[in-house]
Amino acid sequence: MDMALFIQLTLTGLTNGVILALAALGFVLIYKSSDVINFAQGEFLLIGAYMTYAMIAQVGLVWPLGVLVTLLLAIGLGIIVERFVLRPLIGEPIISVIMVTIGLSSVMQAVVNAIWGPYGQNFPPFIPSEPISILGATINADRLWATAIAVILLAFFTYFFRLSKEGIAMRAVADDQQASLSMGISVKKIFAWAWSIAAVTAAIAGALLANIVGVRGELASFGLRVFPVVILGGLDSIPGAVIGGLIIGLLETYTGGYIGNGLNQVVPFIVLILILMVRPYGLFGKEIIERV
């Protein structure tokens, strides 16, 4: 076995995995607090990437300010989406909730395409991206930066859900809305929180991805690619999103590197079906899934 290739693939896979985990994080947050599966996660990421692009390259803000404005806009977007699209559907059957997020993704994609056009944009990298060599393998510095930022975020949210008052309230709402209402938790406020946090994490992931692969419509495909990650890790588990992301990231690069033939696009989904058959709640999810 070629050791250099192995290290190269492992490093690329791990950094890919971290980005996948970051994309999956918003997804897990929404599911964890409102039991909604967000098929528009990829589009939140896309909008995050394009807004960062607009703020830095088009408006001409310095990058910390640009990113800050993007994050504020993302919070607003999350709240608007929750208030006007998701809230009327509380208590509706699951197919309606799935479809409404799919409809949302279509609208968001159309808006992005109408404003910025269908072609990718050149993004002025604001994170240093020169190649660095580690153990004989080369990797771009921006990937390492993305990894560091992702690790910080993931650690923060794990802490947030374990220990902070708001995090515990969000878990309570996910568990039993009625009981949380009677304990004085505002379920509406929690949902608004969840969506804005999810939009913010997606915007961060989008900004990082914009730096690594450029701003383009294909970023929305992350919305599909997070499914194997979250199912493997467990839909309601943040550590699960991390581990799932790393495993799927490695799996994708190993199959892509050693076997090829585009197999890396489909292997995660085969894993997904196997996991669903054997262990539908994933590696770290709560075992409350209803079996038939």
């Binding site: 599966i37 309606s96 479809m99 609208v107 395409n113 599909l224 997904l272 079906i273 079996r291």
Partner: protein
């Protein structure tokens, strides 16, 4: 169930069309469908054929999603199985097109049953994700199995012939497509008057209660996948023979979503709903692009915007229907009928 209608015999109660108004509406509809192609130009015939194929596919999906309650995001993949099976058999092996269409239905039915197996353990959300995976896997196989499907290249299917007549015009194909659409609708309406159909509905409403009442859930769920995929395969095979060309772009996840949107906007668990939804979702993009063409002289930038307007309208309509009329167009249609039946005393 209509209000204000009372039957005194069982045959009258069990009839498909129970009132004069229903019979007259059906007669008008059939007459319209028969006369329409004689007067319509080629553009409208093409649209009508697209609607017909969509109706067959939507009825198939509705059997599974609307009647049995199993969410499927794999419609595009199953359409691809039908289209490629029929296309390959006709183009490469010279199988007569009607035989290849029938084989395609059976093959799709089998594939649908295989991907339905996870439904034995999963429901709701998890089943939706599993069928989404089925869609991705089928599409990957289609684009990478070069020896059989030709990969990403288009598969050319010869024009079908019937009784020495080449079915190469929209006018000739209209009769085939709408004949089959009519048969599909009739078969589905009658399916839900048999104990199989009632079992599907029982599983949708309360699966545990259905099992207690002696319905073998495993068997009937798989049966529902099989019947549903049979019609979806028919729609796929018709796409192949009608278009004369099969490419993988026609069967992406977006197609699965469009079909789901059709049955939700039309009305879940209703054959007429599938018809309304398929018509609406097929005509909407055509209507928007015509509108754009009309406005071209006023707003020059409109040409580049049309695709995005179509996409946004697609999403907005799904959202608005789910929020304001979750039961779909069929409910609106029923409300209109009720209004006039009870007029002037409707409340």
């Amino acid at each position: 169930m209509e209000s204000g209608i009372f039957h005194t015999t069982y045959p009258a109660d069990m009839a498909l069309r129970r009132t004069y108004a229903q019979k007259i509406r059906l007669a008008i509809f059939l007459l319209f469908m028969l006369v329409f192609p004689l007067f319509a130009n080629r553009y409208y015939l093409t649209l009508a054929n697209q609607v017909g194929i969509a109706v067959i596919g939507a009825i198939g999906l509705n059997i599974l999603v609307g009647f049995t309650g199993q969410i499927s995001l794999g419609q595009g993949g199953f359409l691809a199985v039908g289209a490629y099976t029929s296309g390959i058999l006709t183009a490469r092996f010279g199988v007569p097109w009607y035989a290849s269409v029938l084989i395609a239905c059976v093959v799709t039915s089998l594939v649908g049953t295989i991907f339905g197996i996870p439904s034995l353990r999963l429901k709701g959300l998890y089943l939706a994700i599993a069928t989404l995976a089925a869609q991705v896997i089928i599409l990957w196989v289609v684009t990478h199995w070069n020896a059989v499907t030709g990969g990403v290249d288009a598969l050319v299917v010869p024009n079908p012939t019937l009784a020495g007549l080449r079915l190469n015009t929209d006018f000739r194909f209209y009769w085939i497509i709408w004949g089959l659409a009519g048969l599909t609708a009739l078969a589905t309406i009658n399916l839900f008057r048999t104990h199989y159909g009632r079992a599907f509905i029982a599983i949708r409403d309360q699966d545990i209660a259905a099992e207690v009442m002696g319905i073998d859930i495993f068997r009937y769920k798989l049966l529902s996948f099989a019947i549903s995929s049979f019609f979806v395969g028919l729609a796929g095979a018709l796409i192949a023979n009608y278009r004369n060309i099969v490419t993988w772009e026609r069967f992406t996840t977006d197609v699965s979503v469009t079909y789901l949107a059709m049955i939700i906007i039309g009305g879940l668990g209703s054959v007429s709903g599938s018809f309304f939804g398929a018509t609406f979702m097929t005509l909407l993009p055509a209507f928007l692009s015509n509108l754009g063409r009309l406005l071209r002289s006023n707003i020059p930038a409109i040409d580049t915007l049309i695709p995005y307007v179509q996409q946004a309208a697609f999403g907005l309509i799904i959202i608005l229907f789910l929020i304001f009329e979750p039961e779909g167009l069929r409910k609106i249609w029923d409300d209109i009928k009720d209004y006039f039946r009870l007029w002037p005393f409707s409340y």
